[in-house]
Symmetry: C3
């Protein structure tokens, strides 16, 4: 078993299955793409154990509580890891996190985007540690996100054995 998967299990977490898109939706892109030692990660949202996107849906600071959004950011991290695993085969190949772009669907007067995206960063540090898990980050307020999800995150990381 990979060390990353084992560490997730220690934390009581597991990766979700592939995304089950909402009915009728075509998503004609890759969820992760390896390019040499870089892995680019598409925008992801929070998934449930059945692969579907999960709520609470809406805007943080209005329908969605910040703590619930922070949990959604953690679930989004698991979704990203599942896509990376499908692309590169083994999450133990990850040698470093790079860029994290955290988007929070926000009511116009909600200013706590960093605390929401900390749900993602805290997961990454808990799983990968402070060196491999080190990343740059933005955490910003979006007008609205697809299917009314509260959080979407895209990013980049590095793996060994690239060209």
């Amino acid at each position: 078993m990979s060390r990353v998967i084992a560490r997730l299990a220690e934390l009581g977490l597991q990766l979700p299955p592939p995304l089950v898109a909402p009915p009728g939706v075509v998503l004609p892109f890759a969820f992760a793409q390896r390019v040499g030692s870089r892995v680019l990660i598409a925008g992801h949202g929070p998934q449930g154990p059945d692969g579907r996107l999960v709520g609470p849906f809406g805007k943080v600071g209005a329908e969605v509580e910040p703590d619930a959004a922070r949990h959604a950011a953690m679930l989004t991290g698991l979704s990203m890891l599942a896509s990376v695993q499908a692309e590169i085969g083994d999450l133990d190949r990850i040698t470093g996190w790079r860029r994290v772009f955290g988007m929070v669907a926000s009511a116009p007067d909600f200013h706590g985007q960093p605390e929401v995206i900390n749900g993602f960063s805290d997961l990454i540090h808990a799983v990968f540690g402070p060196v491999t898990g080190r990343h740059v980050r933005s955490a910003v307020g979006m007008a609205v996100l697809p299917w009314n999800i509260p959080v979407e995150i895209e990013g980049e990381l590095a793996i060994d054995g690239g060209d």
Copy 2:
């Protein structure tokens, strides 16, 4: 004639001329920048055959219909290809698409950003095929975009002959 240009012609499409900025506007940046094998692409919008930005202007889900925005996303792809061509000379040098960040000016209750940005992804796949055209993507809802355009897309691709 380049294969990409020929393929666009088969689809009844052609690249727009260089952007004609709105009166009085200075845009002090590069529309595309080659760095070794990477080509970074600035945020682009939909251009008309005279080089100017074209409407419909406004927010999708309010003044702009989703289908019109989807067409704007396709036009934005053509604008990006024109900038890449100006930077690297020949679009046949493109060996792979990488990152696509699709921004849709959105009414607060519009959740169909992916379908809008599919107008871009479908163009890329139609022109470059599923292997070279493969890309990661985000499609998200912005509060507002410059000059009230409905769609703006930035991205990255790879070319041969880099360092």
Copy 3:
């Protein structure tokens, strides 16, 4: 003294001290990260000489005037340079700017994001010149930014001596 710091002094500018985060806020990420010849830069905002985020706070086109936001974009550039210096030691190692993603907290009818982010681009060109300072850019309207800052910018640049 580094040439970049000397040039900033000629312009009457200096780098801010490390960010003093708002009370109670944990920011568990790197403000800049070197990866070979790439330096990735986290989302930054305008800082004052005491290291704290400075206003005017709010949305451009509502509480914040465009000219004040343009100045905030310049201050944000100084904040980014300070973080890059902390990561790589000497700003004279910068060989080229790459990607700039400029986010402007915007009232729904404010369309002048490019002019706001010009405050950043003009600084970069004044300090680094047109060749090293050349960059691709997006300038877009966000629903809201952390702590109600008017501008946040993330980016990437290149340095010598990478892998």
